[in-house]
């Protein structure tokens, strides 16, 4: 790997530190009665409101449709994710130090698997909250209606428009993986060019 590639990978790995200080994902709930904004943030180790009290407000609203309370302490992934992210980061730094291309490939594969697993997990939690409703005690029952928030993009959930997008931490992770992919692509192209020149 060229020195520039190695520096780029180090930067990409260090970019992941931002995921400890910024939310990975944000779900905003837009309705006329909430001009002050309402929403929740998924962080690497917690789920919280965008503003103080938002999570309590969302849970209170959800009781109308029979949705379970969102309790961050009941989501075990939030305890594991910081360790996984640390591992990905250290692995990235090891790639930069060693400068080996096979390690770069391995890192990229691991990173993509972790990212995909995270998104799938997020989807499954959303599915669980949105579908497994306590219909016995739900106050508002709309036949056939489920309340799974979108993975990305927006969706109308009764009087709320739910908008789900990566947070700054999420964008940092996306930037990190894209940098990794770009470097990997450049290194591969360079390898193909270099070989004929040697002969």
């Amino acid at each position: 790997m060229k020195p520039f590639s190695r520096i780029s990978i180090a930067v990409a790995a260090l970019l992941l530190t931002l995921t400890y200080f910024l939310p990975l994902w944000e779900i905003e709930l837009i309705a006329p009665q909430y001009p002050e904004g309402l929403g929740m943030e998924i962080w690497i180790n917690q789920v919280q409101g965008q503003h103080p009290g938002d999570l309590a407000k969302i849970n209170n609203l959800n009781h109308y449709i029979g949705m379970k309370h969102i309790k961050p302490e009941s989501i075990p992934e939030l305890r594991i994710m910081p360790w996984i992210m640390r591992a990905v980061m250290l692995f990235g730094l090891a790639v930069a130090i060693s400068g080996r291309k096979w390690m770069l490939t391995a890192w990229l594969v691991v990173f993509l698997v972790v990212a995909l697993a995270g998104l799938v997990d997020f989807y499954l939690w959303g599915y669980d909250y949105g579908h497994n409703l306590d219909l016995e005690n739900a106050i508002i029952k709309v036949p056939g209606m489920t309340y799974q928030p979108p993975l990305i993009g927006s969706k109308k959930l009764l009087n709320f428009e739910a908008v789900s997008l990566p947070g700054f931490g999420g964008w940092a992770a996306i930037g990190s993986v894209l940098t990794g992919a770009l470097v990997w692509f450049m290194e591969m192209r360079r390898a193909r060019k270099v070989v004929p020149n040697v002969e």
């Binding site: 103080p52 009290g53 309590a56 106050i139």
Partner: protein, 638 residues
């Protein structure tokens, strides 16, 4: 033929003459011609006003909050009067705020709102107002727009000249309107001259918490003390009080207190008073008075204090002087520089303006014309800076625009007169409808007025609005003062009765307004933090119901085991942590009022069931789609 013509001409001319006479005499009423006034007061839907205006509620005992320039009413803050709409004075937490040495007094007459100041400028922290009838001062918190403290003024016969602040909230001043025997005693009313005294009270304000405490009282000659302002800049350290009834009449004051050509403005050196108190010169007088405040747990507390420090004015040379001032002065206003003290002689045909620097020189040069009950009277010629000549009739109050002009309200000629400080010439006048009392320019009593508008606070409205029987709406008028000519922009109704008002830019307080109280910080001893903490506890005949409310249910909502003759305390905690979601609580037949509980707050209602049966209760503040379902029942057994 000729004769007929002359007769006809004479007839026509006399008609013209009669029309001219009547036309000339009829009151001029402005109709139309308002130009761009509508545009200047229109605040588009969803937009905000530029100023908050705090208006006294007069005999309603409350304070009303308006937006300017729109004249829209936002809130009535309950202060000295119970307010069943908000449960104020009915909930156990707020009852103590209305306690006095006379017992629970559920009403007062509130006149002069005063915004807290730092360096002579509004600082947007607190609002003070006086209770005139049963002498009291209240303090409101401008983050919650709630009354948080009241203090009773002992040795006072009516707290009118109050609560005017010194430039850094060092003191709230309070002068007695009616002189009375001090200390109180059973004497003949006709012994006024011999036995009646006045007091001027200085109440200290804690610079951090705002807590009030009577620092000292000054015993002064027995006349009527009316209004006040404190000095600033060069006159910092002094307070000025208008006074009337220097005749010391005790009956038919209308006539008997209007005889003297001049009454007084009293100048009090409060810095010297502070020193005298520090030197131990204050006498301890027994004077029982109540101090009530909302404690850290948002629960009202009353404490009874039994003595005050008193300085007898005539015993301390230099503490107090009288400045002769024409004709029963009412207003007593200090200009932004602190040099001029403007008096409004109710019955005078001029506005006298005293000079502070001339006053100081006169005192140094011993330019006195005599004494009144042991207080030196400075010579009128030695203190007067100028007189605004022919301003109109019945000058009352003056505010300032910070551009070198004073604006004085004229009660009798029903107008505002604008005059230039220094030359004392009248430069403009505008009619008001009708009989203006106070007037208010945003920041018009501070070092740097915000200007822009003057608000006329009128005493009579007559034909200005649709009639509502014999009692008509109270009213204010908004006048543009940005140009050379004052321009009437808007009439708007107010709650009764608007005496004085104060205003400040909305940006100073709007972003600090509390939206809800964090439930984790609720320290009310009867609060619950979650539904599963709700419970009913009996202690003899007293029952405590620890109740929670959240959209859209009460816990508990079925209450059994209550007996006729019990004292039932409902401690209702609103568990909401959301903006603008108060819940109400009301019980059928309760002889009190509802409770209105803010998010995160706890309020307590006492209910004493009189008969067996099942009694419903419900939420009174429409809170959600299922508000109608927010109800419960109480079973009362005999």
């Amino acid at each position: 033929m000729k004769r007929t013509l002359i007769v006809a001409m004479g007839f026509v001319l006399s008609i013209i003459g009669i029309a001219a006479i009547f036309g000339g005499c009829s009151p001029k009423k402005e109709v139309g011609g308002f130009g761009d006034a509508a545009e200047k007061v229109y605040v588009a839907p969803g937009s905000y006003d530029e100023f908050y205006a705090f208006m006294s509620g007069g005999f309603s005992g409350q304070v009303s909050v308006y937006g300017l320039p729109s004249g829209r009413l936002f809130r009535v803050i309950p202060v000295f009067s119970v307010d069943p709409e908000k449960g104020y004075g009915y909930s156990e937490e707020t009852k103590p705020l209305l306690m006095t040495s006379h017992g629970f007094v559920p009403w007062d007459d509130a006149h002069h709102p005063q915004l807290s100041v730092t360096d002579g400028q509004s600082d947007g922290r607190w609002l003070f107002i006086n209770g005139n009838n049963t002498p009291r001062i209240a303090r409101m918190d401008l983050t919650t727009f709630e009354t948080v403290e009241t203090i009773e003024i002992p040795n006072s016969g009516g707290n009118h000249g109050s609560p005017f602040l010194t430039p850094n909230n060092e003191y709230v001043v309070a002068s007695t309107r009616f002189s009375v025997p001090i200390p109180q005693q059973d004497v003949s009313i006709s012994s006024y001259k011999e036995n009646f005294k006045g007091t001027i009270t200085f109440i200290s304000v804690d610079s951090v918490t705002g807590r009030m405490k009577i620092a000292f009282q000054i015993l002064v000659p027995g006349i009527n003390y009316d209004l006040s302002r404190s000095g600033k800049g060069p006159s910092h350290g002094w307070s000025f009080f208008s006074s009337y009834n220097s005749e010391q009449a005790n009956t038919q004051l209308e006539v008997n207190a209007s005889k003297n050509d001049k009454d007084f403005i009293a100048a009090v050196n409060w810095k010297l008073a502070e020193e005298l108190i520090a030197q131990g010169k204050g006498q301890d007088w027994t004077a029982s008075h109540y101090h009530n405040y909302m404690d850290d747990a948002d629960v009202g507390q009353s404490e009874v204090l039994n003595s005050v420090k008193v300085l007898v004015a005539k015993d301390h040379p230099g503490l107090m002087y009288y400045l002769p001032t024409p004709k029963s002065p009412h207003g007593c206003d200090v200009d932004p520089s602190g040099e001029y003290i403007v008096a409004g002689g109710k019955l005078a045909a001029l506005i006298p303006v005293h000079s502070f620097s001339k006053f100081k020189k006169a005192v140094e040069g011993n330019e006195f014309e005599g004494e009144f009950d042991g207080i030196p009277i400075v010579k009128y010629e030695s203190v007067i800076a100028g007189e605004v000549k022919d301003p109109g009739l019945g000058p009352l109050h003056t505010e300032f625009d910070g551009q070198g002009f004073g604006y004085t309200s004229m009660f009798l000629s029903s107008e505002i007169v604008k005059w230039k400080i220094g030359t004392w010439e009248v430069v403009d006048r505008i009619p008001t409808y009708y009989s203006i009392g106070h007037l208010m320019i945003p920041g018009g009593d501070t070092k740097q007025p915000y200007g822009k508008y003057v608000v006329a606070l009128n005493k009579i409205t007559k034909d200005r609005y649709l009639p509502t029987g014999p009692e008509l709406t109270q009213a204010a008028q908004l006048i543009d003062i940005t140009g050379d000519k004052m321009k009437l922009l808007l009439d708007f109704p107010t709650i009764g009765e608007p005496h004085y008002a104060q205003a400040l830019p909305a940006t100073m307080i709007k972003d600090r307004s509390v939206r809800w109280y964090p439930i984790a910080e609720n320290k009310n001893p009867f609060a619950i933090k979650a539904e599963n903490e709700s419970r009913i506890e009996r202690d003899g005949k007293t029952v405590h119901v620890y109740m929670s409310t959240i959209r859209t249910h009460f816990v508990p909502d079925n209450i059994e085991g209550i007996k006729v003759g019990d004292k039932v305390y409902f401690h209702v905690t609103n568990l909401e942590q959301d903006w603008d979601v108060p819940h109400g609580f009301s019980v059928m037949g309760a002889t009190t009022s509802e409770l209105l509980v803010m998010p995160g707050q706890t309020r307590t209602l006492l209910w004493e069931p009189k008969m067996a049966g099942v009694i419903p209760f419900y939420c009174t503040d429409f809170c959600s789609a299922l508000h109608q379902e927010m109800q419960g029942w109480i079973r009362v057994s005999s």
